[in-house]
């Protein structure tokens, strides 16, 4: 009886309320609610998806990670690699009608660097001063050469906001952001929606085919997919790997995917406080044995339906900076046992801290089972994320199964994690030779030259294993079959350019 009433009611309502969807609106289902929409203060990955429609950057990347101009036209390094001159695109307007020029660019750099609470300060730490050369040229002056800088300018550090709006709103700029991107801010209801509408004076407006973009955070991936299936969304980001067969079988939908820039790995506490005094923290041979006991392909096959990729370095195997001479190791339990015998600890015990996500717990259980064959005894400690982060930083952990979302430049995936003073080096790993090579890699621009330095780093860390890299996730999107022009980028941002509904 309850059900029939319900059905009748639902039927009546569905007739009364015609579908509100319009072909001119691009509706994107996000996996989380973004944080503050200020490029200077923003800190979440999901916020960057919104910025891709809202705020243009000086440079962008191509799907194969080449740098291409966006609000800039070109760049040139000086002889000594300490000065970067950037030519800016002319005739670009911010969404409040203000002109984008060299003075505005200088304002933005200084805001990123000087604003209290800026999350861009670290990315631009090499920049000492900014000069306005002429109305459409700026020069960044560096204390020492820093080749990852251009890659930083392809993301939030390269986003330009309207100086007038930024001055008016101060640290609340993110509540009504004004940038130079294809869509301007209309409204935001936290945890419900972010609405943007087409900016008529966008410099590249010929490539924009929607009047509105609406971002809706829908945390549950099943529900995100259901919204797409019922026509409530055009794109759902980060769908579950286990839902891919269903998406591929559904004629109304299509899927897109690309391997991520980041990695999933295990960080070991090698020197951060008393808890580093465990068999794995104390002896690199025990960590080697641990790594050899793990079958990485089995993890990606069992937990992620074979959609993710095994890995052993801080960049995925298809990355230009992957060190090919050190391939993903095969599982070798016999060798692992030998190493443990050499180290004199045939049955080492370790506590593996993990975030409480169901898929990660499954990964941890597989690791527990696989390493048991070599003699390890792994205790899994699932910990709420904020608490886990604090334990990690304080050194209150032995091993931590954690993901890094990845950066365009390889420096962003390694420097902070294993250089002696790196802010993310929670295990306190320190090797002067590694530090030297990482620093040198920052000073050269030429990719093959940089790769040589990273190869030297890999030669050392693949033996000392402060971090065991396990696999690289794949970014997965599901979208309406009618949507055309979607290009998957390894940074997983959804660029609205050229997207259209047929």
């Amino acid at each position: 009886m309850q059900r029939t009433t319900m059905l009748a009611l639902a039927l009546g309502l569905s007739v009364a309320g015609a579908a509100a969807a319009s072909a001119q609106t691009l509706r994107i289902g996000l996996a989380e609610d973004p944080d503050i929409l200020d490029p200077t203060q923003g800190r979440t990955f999901v916020g960057r998806i919104v910025f891709a429609s809202l705020c243009d950057k000086l440079f962008d990347i191509t799907p194969d990670l080449k740098v291409v101009p966006q609000l800039a036209l070109s760049y040139a390094w000086s002889e000594d690699a300490k000065h970067l001159t950037i030519q800016l695109r002319k005739g670009v307007k911010f969404q409040d009608g203000e002109a984008f020029n060299a003075a505005a660019a200088k304002f933005n750099f200084e805001r990123h660097i000087n604003m209290p609470g800026s999350n861009r300060k670290g990315e631009l730490s090499a920049v000492q001063t900014v000069d306005v050369v002429d109305d459409s040229t700026v020069r960044l002056n560096l204390a020492q050469p820093y080749s990852p800088l251009i890659a930083q300018l392809t993301d939030r550090a390269g986003m330009m906001v309207s100086p007038k709006a930024a001055q008016a709103l101060g640290d609340k700029f993110g509540t009504a952001p004004v940038c130079a991107g294809p869509f301007k801010f209309v409204e935001r209801v936290p945890q419900d929606r972010i609405v943007l509408e087409r900016f008529a004076d966008y410099w590249d407006k010929g490539r924009i085919h929607f009047d509105k973009v609406v971002f809706t955070p829908i945390v549950d991936s099943t529900v995100r997919l259901s919204n797409l299936q019922s026509g409530g969304l055009e794109i759902a980001e980060r769908v579950a790997a286990t839902d891919l067969p269903a998406i591929r079988a559904d004629k109304r939908l299509k899927a897109a995917s690309i391997v991520e820039l980041g990695y999933q790995g295990i960080t070991f506490n090698v020197a951060n406080g008393p808890r580093s005094k465990n068999p794995l923290g104390a002896d690199a041979r025990v960590r080697q044995a641990f790594s050899l006991a793990i079958d990485r392909a089995a993890i990606t096959n069992v937990v992620y339906n074979g959609e993710f990729f095994p890995g052993n370095q801080w960049v995925p195997t298809n990355n230009p900076y992957y060190v090919k001479s050190v391939p993903v190791p095969k599982r070798d339990v016999a060798r692992a046992k030998e190493l443990l015998a050499e180290a004199g600890t045939p049955h080492p015990q370790v506590t593996l801290m993990t975030p409480p996500n169901p898929d990660i717990l499954q990964v941890a259980q597989l690791i527990q089972a696989m390493t048991k064959d070599a003699g390890f005894e792994v205790k899994i400690q699932a910990t709420e994320f904020a608490a886990a982060l604090q334990s990690s930083q304080k050194g209150d952990f032995e091993a931590f199964l954690i993901a890094w979302s990845g950066r365009t430049d390889p420096d962003g995936n390694i420097f902070s994690f294993i250089s002696c003073k790196g802010p993310l080096n929670d295990g306190h790993y320190c090797n002067e030779d590694v530090d030297k090579e990482l620093a040198l890699a920052r000073t050269v621009e030429d990719p093959p030259e940089r790769l040589k330095h990273y190869a030297k780093v890999e030669a050392i860390v693949s033996k000392e294993l402060p971090i065991i890299y396990l696999f690289h996730r794949q970014w997965l999107w599901a979208m309406s079959a009618k949507l055309n022009g979607f290009v998957a980028y390894p940074d997983a941002l959804i660029r609205p350019q050229d997207l259209k509904v047929n």
Binding site: Q2, M6, L9, A10, L11, L13, S14, A16, G17, A20, D33, D35, I36, R43, T44, F45, P116, G117, S118, N119, K121, G122, E123, D171, K172, G174, T175, V189, P190, Q191, D192, R193, T216, P217, I218, V219, D220, T222, V223, S226, N227, Q229, S230, G231, G232, E384, F385, A386, A387, L389, Q390, S391, Q393, W404, S405, S416, P423, L424
Partner: protein, 313 residues
Amino acid sequence: MLAFLVRRLAIVGPTLVFVSMLIFGLQQLLPGDPALALAGEDRDPNVIAFIHQRYHLDEPIPVRYLLWVEGVLHGDFGDSIRDKLPVGGLIAQKLPVTIELAALAMLIALAIGIPAGIVSAVRKDSLADYAANMLGLAGLSIPNFWLGIMLILLFSVELGWLPASGFVTLKEDPVQNIRTLIMPAFVLGAAVAAVMMRHTRSAMLSVLEADYVRTARAKGLTERVVLLRHSLRNALIPVITLGALELGQLLSGAVLTEQVFSIPGFGRLIVEAAFTRDYAVVQGVVMVTAAAYLLLNLLADIAYVLVDPRLRS
């Protein structure tokens, strides 16, 4: 009656102060530095230091509590660290959503639970009684997120009658508003209806055996009058208490249901705030919820008096 009201109102203030201290203290017990949770993946030390200073995180707890009290007395609940919005505004935005959802769910619960409870008590051991008990058991044991996802799959994906999730306010579009709320309200209402039904049934059963019901029947009153005026009225007192508690719970936010249906209510607000250690938001939401509970209890007390005149003395 007036003295009773004054007495009850007088304890609301101290209770709220006590709750505010308790929740402030409890939050400090949470492991996890808010600055670390808010600084983002890069954990820039400058940013962490800035957050500590800006939000007084290094001050002793009593000092921070007094700073918060000072703000509240000036009508300022503070700003969300996460998105810089004033907590008062966030609450004002979410509260109507949660109230509407709770009211709708309660309506559904009452409409199903009380009639079903009466019928199964009056027709004890009949087919209707068994059916009502079965449904009640199901309503209690089916997890609401599962029921929610099943409803979405049926009504949104398969039949395409209702939007799968999201929320539209009553002001924007009343029809769309009901369309977005009907499934989550049903999910929440079904669970409450089951509890209501069980309690109405057992209260009715004990009342139906009371002497005054036999007297009423002996006087030759119609069964309708016996049931509704003599039995139900007496049976309702425990049900009212229960209803007030259940409504309070609905108002404190239905985390899982809101999550499944992407309803921007209290539940999601407080959960996201707790995960990012956004203390000001957690504190604000808990205070409003506590106030709602106190108010509902007060209303329940008033309702007892209205239903049962003996309590007036």
